[in-house]
Subunit: 133 residues, 2 copies
Amino acid sequence: MLMSHYIDIMKKAGVKFTRPRKLVLDALQAAKQPLSIKEIHKRVRNKADLASVYRTVNLFQDLGIVREVQFGEGYQRYELIGEGQHHHYVLCIECGKLEDIDICLLDRVEKMTNFKILSHSMEFQGLCHSCAG
Amino acid sequence: MLMSHYIDIMKKAGVKFTRPRKLVLDALQAAKQPLSIKEIHKRVRNKADLASVYRTVNLFQDLGIVREVQFGEGYQRYELIGEGQHHHYVLCIECGKLEDIDICLLDRVEKMTNFKILSHSMEFQGLCHSCAG
DNA sequence: TTCTAATTGCAAATGGTTTGCATTGCTTGT
DNA sequence: ACAAGCAATGCAAACCATTTGCAATTAGAA
């Protein structure tokens, strides 16, 4: 996704495109993996305050730029939302390997439950082929 | 699930079946819904300390009596594991209604990824039919 | 019943996240 | 280019969920 796309979203929302916000975007774009706040902050260290990283990520969530990924690690992870679609993951708790799963149940669940689904999480944890021995 | 079943698990694991542990089991059994620690503690108030609730729930997780449910609310919820199978949920963020979804992807994901899946979370948040208007 | 290790309660510590506030810095109008 | 006004930042303190240390209590085996 081009930076201009995100600048656009912020402009439309009437918020400023500031240095910390650019830094967080850069970090997430470079990572290509869901990052924790700590990890984002590390990648941005000395250029943006931890509190600003939190504020920025929360803003990005509201703007639909970023989504939360839950691994039950005691904190959240965040990833950029690409062109509409999103990912789900399997995490190897041994070596930390993260793999995509190409499944999404949104439509099916909306039909089954008659809910308007606004967000969902679906992540798996286990042992990858090599770590399972 | 009968109480004796849980007593058995604890006996086999070599841990004691204490009053706080019984209270937490009772609370979870009565609720029939994933409860937060706070909710468990409220249902047990004056009979077990908050720290003991935490310790008990963690123990139950290790023993496979309880599993975590993630709604990204900033804290965890816990539910008893029934006879082997487990549930997934849709939460209405407006009125708090919680509905079961009868889908589980464990097998499919294990095959797709070649991981040995040890745990997973899959929960949906949105608006139920009446709240969506 | 007695004894001992496991468990509890309480209070203090921890760690992730949020907030208050003074300062900084865009941005728009002049 | 300049000033005014408002948004956003940095820093420190506050907050809230969860964990931990330790002395007192208790389950349950002998």
